[in-house]
Amino acid sequence: MSDNSQIRPVIFDPKLRLNRSDVIAKVRDLSPNLASVDDQVSPIVGSKAEALKQLGRLNPATYGRTRNHLDGAVTGLSPFVRHGVISTADIRDQALGLNTPKEAEKFIQQLAWREYWQKLYRENPNYIWNDVEPYKTGFDAEHYADDLPEDISQAKTGVACIDQFIAELLTTGYIHNHARLYVAAYVCHWRRVKWQAGARFFLMHLLDGDPASNNLSWQWVASTFSHKPYFFNLENVEKFSGDSVDTRFKTNKTLAGSYEDIYARLFPNLEPKT
């Protein structure tokens, strides 16, 4: 540190070991404008040791087979990758050490998504908060609400599985990628809210929230960065959920129906889906 420096670090005590409640108190102290209502702390602890622990559990072949299932294999590495605690190159090397390239390919392809989003971000920073292309939903951007309704941000929509996913996000700062797609589609298409409002909400809470992968994925769901809107039905949630997700008809009625029916309901200005 420079001897001329007039400022002093707020923490400069090598090997200082704070317990978690001290860390939380320190963060609150250093964040005077943080709303006091927000009091959730993730069970995921930020440290290199935690990242390496997750890396040690990596099973790329299983990941490739089960990754779309909400109770399937996930790496738990994304918050650490987001903040550069560990790199995609480190993870790729570990994957290639564990499996043959053929077995690991699907997993490494998923890692490549991050590289792809980052490249887009570097080259097109304007993509992050602006529609890359028009909506392909039969509606224009002005037909979508600017703000996220409170029932969504508070996990009180009345749609059981959606509320469950949002509650998990609020509590842990992490939800499975497939659950992210369900929530995003619900926000954009069932509630007709601009993707930007949902993307901002996710970035507030996701420990791995990255402007590029988060916002461009929201645009993919919304159809402003894809050929068509992404949507789903209750049957699809059932298929990919474990027993812990409430997928009963009576608590998720708005999601129930065939793809054709839901398409007609969500996108009445488009040609019927056949």
């Binding site: 540190m1 605690v85 790729r92 920073p125 809470h205």
Partner: protein
């Protein structure tokens, strides 16, 4: 550490001392982290995001300052070189551009995941992946060796 050694800005996109920027800056360089709560406020970050980031920074046993990166980096560097991982985040990129007015700023890239031509078609992921996979499926060691071979060939 000498007065000529640089400082390393460990920012929120690269909270690591394993990043190549640390080796590039040399053993005397001082890494620092800056806690900018105004930026977190602007992004609406929840307590859990802030705690996670703070824990990652705390884990490195490096000085953590609170305030605005531009002014803190200027004051701590005091004319010395500033090393940092480049980032597409305009918040980080603008700080580094501004510091270039009066400091030597040395950006150092992360270890490469793949070798990708700058003109690769990025309109859809699979066009990108079709090109990236040739080198993304190599280990970092193999990738670096193939990079050196292509340099030697050039």
């Amino acid at each position: 550490m000498s007065v000529n050694d640089g400082i390393i800005w460990v920012h929120e996109d690269a909270i690591s001392l394993d990043h190549p920027v640390v080796a590039a800056a040399g053993p005397g360089a001082q890494p620092i982290f800056i806690w900018d709560s105004h930026n977190h406020d602007a992004l609406g970050y929840s307590l859990k995001r802030r705690v996670f980031i703070f824990e990652c920074a705390l884990d490195l046993d490096i000085p953590i300052y609170a305030g605005t990166p531009k002014s803190i980096l200027r004051e701590v560097a005091n004319g010395r070189a500033i090393y940092a991982a480049p980032s597409p985040d305009p918040y980080i990129a603008h700080v580094l551009i501004d510091l270039q007015k009066d400091h030597e700023v040395v950006p150092v890239d992360a270890r490469p995941f793949a070798r990708i031509a700058s003109d690769v078609d990025t309109r859809r992921f699979f066009r990108f992946w079709n090109q990236a996979k040739k080198t993304a499926m190599l280990s970092t060691q193999e990738l670096e060796a193939s990079q050196n071979t292509s340099r030697d060939d050039a």
